[in-house]
């Protein structure tokens, strides 16, 4: 290999990797968690309207209980697909891990303290919205950036739903799941499948 060829190899490879970096691997995770969140929180809202029992507000625990086994089984089958992680996408992944832990731990703390109507649900919306926004930025996928901003805005609006209105915060989470996870996730899958 001549020196000039080496320079060309470096430039071409960097260009190709840069293009590939915009591809979101594991895009199916967004619809998966989005649908689970929407279904469980809608169910919690409906059951609360019917029974006004505290157990209705603990239905969210079903999201990780159902979601994790499904995610792990798909990840196991997914090894044939290519995977790359950029420095920026690692940041987004680290953020999602932080957000998932914060939502899980926060859910138990707020739940045991019996202060559902405070900040928990709006914070979930804001955390999910920021996560979708960051992922959209990393992958330069505009629908996800927009969905993330809408989700975070819904979260900020949900802080206003206090007093008797607090239970409507559950539907704000559903709206955030639809705007930040389900719609951008399906659009991404559609785009990557070339439909």
């Amino acid at each position: 290999m001549e020196q000039f060829d080496a320079l060309e190899v470096i430039a071409r490879t960097r260009g190709k990797v840069d293009m590939d970096s915009n591809v979101l691997t594991g895009g199916w995770l967004f619809p998966l968690w989005g649908w689970l969140t929407a279904i469980f929180y809608s169910l919690a809202f409906i059951l609360w309207q019917l029974y006004h029992q505290e157990w209705c507000l603990w239905l969210w625990v079903g999201i990780p209980v159902v979601g994790f086994p499904i995610m792990m089984s798909i990840l196991r089958k997914d090894h044939e697909r290519t995977h790359i992680r950029t420095h920026r996408s690692k940041l987004a992944l680290d953020y999602w891990i932080f957000a998932a832990c914060a939502i899980g731990i926060g859910g138990f703390l707020f739940g045991f303290a019996g202060i559902y109507e405070m900040a928990e649900n709006p914070l979930i919306c804001v955390l999910v919205g920021i996560g979708a926004f960051l992922t959209g930025e990393v992958t330069r996928f505009r629908p996800m950036i927009a969905g993330g901003l809408i989700g975070a805005s819904i979260g900020l609006g949900a802080f206003l739903l206090q007093g008797d209105l607090w239970v409507w915060q559950e539907l704000c989470i559903v709206a955030t799941a639809v705007s930040a996870l389900i719609i951008p996730g399906h659009l991404f899958e559609k785009q990557s499948n070339g439909v």
Partner: protein, 97 residues
Amino acid sequence: MEFKDLDPILHNELRLKIMVALDSLEDADFVYLKGLTKATAGNLSVQLSKLEETGYIRTSRSGEGRGSHTVCHITPAGTRALQEYQRALLSYFVHLS
């Protein structure tokens, strides 16, 4: 006119592609590198082993057989070597101009 020596490990098209890709990424798996370099699985494995022996990359493998998944990362020594290689390469063109 004095030229800097080019690192013989990096002065190979396939190994250079691998190193440049890993330098731009946090990590990449075998399947991605195979697609990027258009190399055969056997050749890619040999070059990855050579880079790992030199200490320029680190690989981690999960699973066994067909289901195994190999992920490659560049090491700090690899990053330094690539920077040095690029500097040496540029010095040729600076001297020529």
